[in-house]
């Protein structure tokens, strides 16, 4: 972390960048927040640790409109989002100085709490274990167990776009990315419906999934339009409850980089990645393997046309 701060100070001092976009230490052991830093003094509260899951790519949409360059710290998966945003002309590469930071998996406080740990006073790490002191006694949980879902199916530790790299990464991928989708595909239509009904009935339409999503970068979302019957604020019935998610999943299909932010932020723990991965799996099967955000140039299969493309009828055939 000291290396990141040092490099940021240098770039600020010599005027290469006007500001730094990183994470600032929180007031609990697990709540750092995305933040801008403009001088060395402010950088004192900079932090890069296991709880810096927040993907800073989307903030670069706004930062691209500011005077001067913004130094942004991106984890390997975050760089896919940045590429995708570049492809969509939503961020300006010229306005960004990207430092790719090493990553050994990011932590999910919800996963820690799910294991029954409450009243957290401090969290430290020893040999792959998180030692957690609480008001109700000491606990430990393995680093891997406390990781975000997305880190278990990490795309790899290679940064897809950067100006310089700092820090080491460690492999975290220990699960099959499409396993959850395959499980659902095996269900009967009734079971599928019941499964999603149960999950989506929890949705409070808070829009955290949408607003955090780098693929959801429309200037005005259709769900914010008061000319549209289904305005953002509530699910008037169980159909609308699903419609929001279906529309969103379709709209990010082929553009979603599987950055995992939607599932990270959902206050109701809805496994939103399952929707997106279903589309990814289908795209892979119908058009050949494709990863949104691998680069900023390749046309996505859904925004391109070739004579070999699957015919729409394939949907009816597959049922």
């Amino acid at each position: 972390m000291q290396e990141l701060v040092k490099r940021a100070s240098e770039l600020l001092a010599d005027g290469s960048v006007a500001r730094v976009l990183g994470w600032k230490a929180g007031d609990l052991p697990y709540n750092p927040e995305p933040a801008y830093f403009e001088n060395e003094e402010q950088l004192r509260s900079f932090v890069y640790n296991g709880f810096c899951g927040a993907n800073l790519s989307k903030y670069m949409i706004e930062a691209s409109k500011l005077e001067g360059k913004t130094l942004v710290f991106l984890k390997p998966c975050d760089t896919y989002s940045f590429n995708q945003l570049m492809k969509e002309y939503r961020v300006d590469r010229e306005k960004a100085w990207i430092i790719g930071v090493g990553c050994r998996g990011k932590l999910d406080i919800e996963a820690v709490k799910r294991s029954g740990i409450k009243g957290i006073e401090s969290i430290s790490e020893e040999d792959g274990e998180l030692k957690i002191k609480t008001l109700y006694g000491d606990h430990s949980i393995s680093y891997a167990e406390a990781m975000l879902e997305r880190c278990h199916s990490c795309k790899g530790k290679e940064h897809r776009v950067y100006d310089e790299l700092i820090g080491e990464s460690e492999e975290t991928n220990d699960s099959e990315r499409f396993a959850g989708v395959t499980e659902i595909e095996a269900m009967s239509p009734e079971e599928k419906f019941a499964y999603f009904q149960k999950e989506l009935s929890k949705c409070i339409r808070c829009n955290a999934c949408r607003n955090v999503c780098p693929a959801c970068s429309c200037r005005k979302c259709v769900f914010d339009s008061n000319k549209f019957d289904s305005a953002q604020k509530a699910n008037t019935d169980s159909f609308e409850e699903k419609m929001f998610h279906i529309i969103r999943a379709f709209h990010v299909a082929g553009r979603c980089t599987d950055c995992g932010e939607c599932s990270r932020v959902c206050p109701e723990g809805i496994p939103l990645h399952l929707f997106n991965r279903k589309f990814m799996k289908d795209i892979d099967e119908l058009y050949g393997e494709f990863r949104a955000g691998e680069d900023a140039e390749t046309k996505g299969p859904l925004t391109d046309f070739t004579f070999e493309d699957a015919e729409p009828g394939v949907v009816a055939e597959r049922g």
Binding site: D27, R205, A208, R264
Partner: protein, 343 residues
């Protein structure tokens, strides 16, 4: 003081549900929220904060107000019926109870909100003391006592027993209804619990949070502070904080096209949204800094100014736990504190 063995709680719920609707914390797909009791419901009384606050019981996220139907040239208007059946809400915590007091200030004063008032009239609240407060709790900062939930019935979970004390007429009536399931309990056990809870509360990381400097008098000073320009920046404008909050009270009224008429409904609104308080001339808050500022100014300045100093935050900590960017009201209060009152 009465008590009931926890193994008999299901019988208690069955008994209540036999007479009235019963809402309580239920685990569904991994998350605990208030829901109707049923035999299959997986009741979870250990979770301190449900994801959504229990305010839905009185002020639902969306509710119909009236329905217009068109049949040829005939248009009929059917007002929505007010709540007319008694119900019980079980398991509310002290912070959420105070949240209802906040909502009362808004909805029970002139002009009276009849939908809300009907639910308040018909609801009996059974509250629970908080055995194991979380690090995110700061009810103490608002003078709320987690050990002494002041509802129609107060309860304390002590090992294998739930202590039960009716505090109001409604509480007495409910106690009468389930009397055969209750035994007499001693005050001592409960006093011990209270001491224990207060001891833990004193040790919480936010327990010394001070609200000094926040009141109805500081409008200009706080409103014009340059700090907001920094504080709002990571905010995604998602509205999660407002939707999980027990005291957020703003709503919007909308029409739903049913194909042969209109359903006029109201639903929670959020000051974090771009069309919040949209008027014919446009919107009086034009950027996210202003929307972000509204949330905290409302809770800590405007509300106390209009309600004899009562804050409209109760320290439940839900926004602390749920904000995707880890922002929250505590960080805002601390930021102003650290700045040493210069502004």
């Amino acid at each position: 003081m009465y008590k009931i063995k926890t193994e008999n709680l299901t019988a208690l719920f069955q008994k209540i549900a036999g007479h009235q609707e019963l809402y309580l914390p239920v685990r569904n797909a991994g998350q605990v929220n208030y829901a109707n009791w049923s035999d299959e419901a997986e009741v979870d009384l250990n979770v301190l904060n449900t994801v959504k606050s229990p305010k839905d019981a009185f002020f639902p996220q969306s509710e119909n107000l009236y329905t217009c139907k068109r049949d040829g040239k005939k248009i009929t208007i059917e007002p929505e019926q007010l709540k007319s059946q008694n119900f019980v809400i079980f398991g509310m915590r002290s912070c959420d109870l105070k949240g209802v007091e906040v909502l009362d200030k808004v909805f029970l004063e002139d002009p009276l909100d009849t939908f809300y008032a009907a639910r308040r009239d018909h609801g009996t609240i059974v509250a629970m003391a908080c055995n194991e407060p979380e690090e995110t709790c700061f009810c103490k900062a608002f003078g709320i006592d987690a050990a002494e939930p002041n509802a129609d019935v107060a309860t304390w979970m002590a090992g294998a027993e739930l202590y039960w004390e009716p505090l109001t007429e409604k509480g007495e009536a409910l106690t009468e209804m389930v009397r055969e399931l209750l035994d007499d309990g001693s005050e001592e056990a409960v006093e011990e619990m209270k001491t224990n809870i207060r001891r833990i509360i004193a040790k919480l990381p936010y327990s010394d949070l001070s609200m000094d400097g926040w009141n109805g008098e500081v409008l200009d000073e706080k409103f014009n502070s340059e700090l907001w320009d920094e504080l709002y920046k990571p905010c995604l404008a998602c509205g999660t904080c407002t939707f999980v909050c027990p005291t957020c009270q703003c709503y919007d009224i909308k029409d739903y096209d049913t194909g042969n008429g209109v359903q006029r409904y109201r639903c929670w609104d959020s000051c974090m949204y771009s069309d919040f308080t949209m008027m014919a001339h446009g919107n009086n808050r034009t950027n996210q800094m202003q929307r972000f500022r509204q949330r905290f100014m409302h809770k800590l300045v405007y509300f106390p100014a209009n309600n004899d100093g009562m804050y409209s935050c109760v320290g439940c900590g839900r926004c602390v736990a749920k904000c995707p960017s880890s922002l929250n009201i505590v960080k805002v209060v601390k930021a102003f504190q650290n700045q040493g009152g210069e502004q």
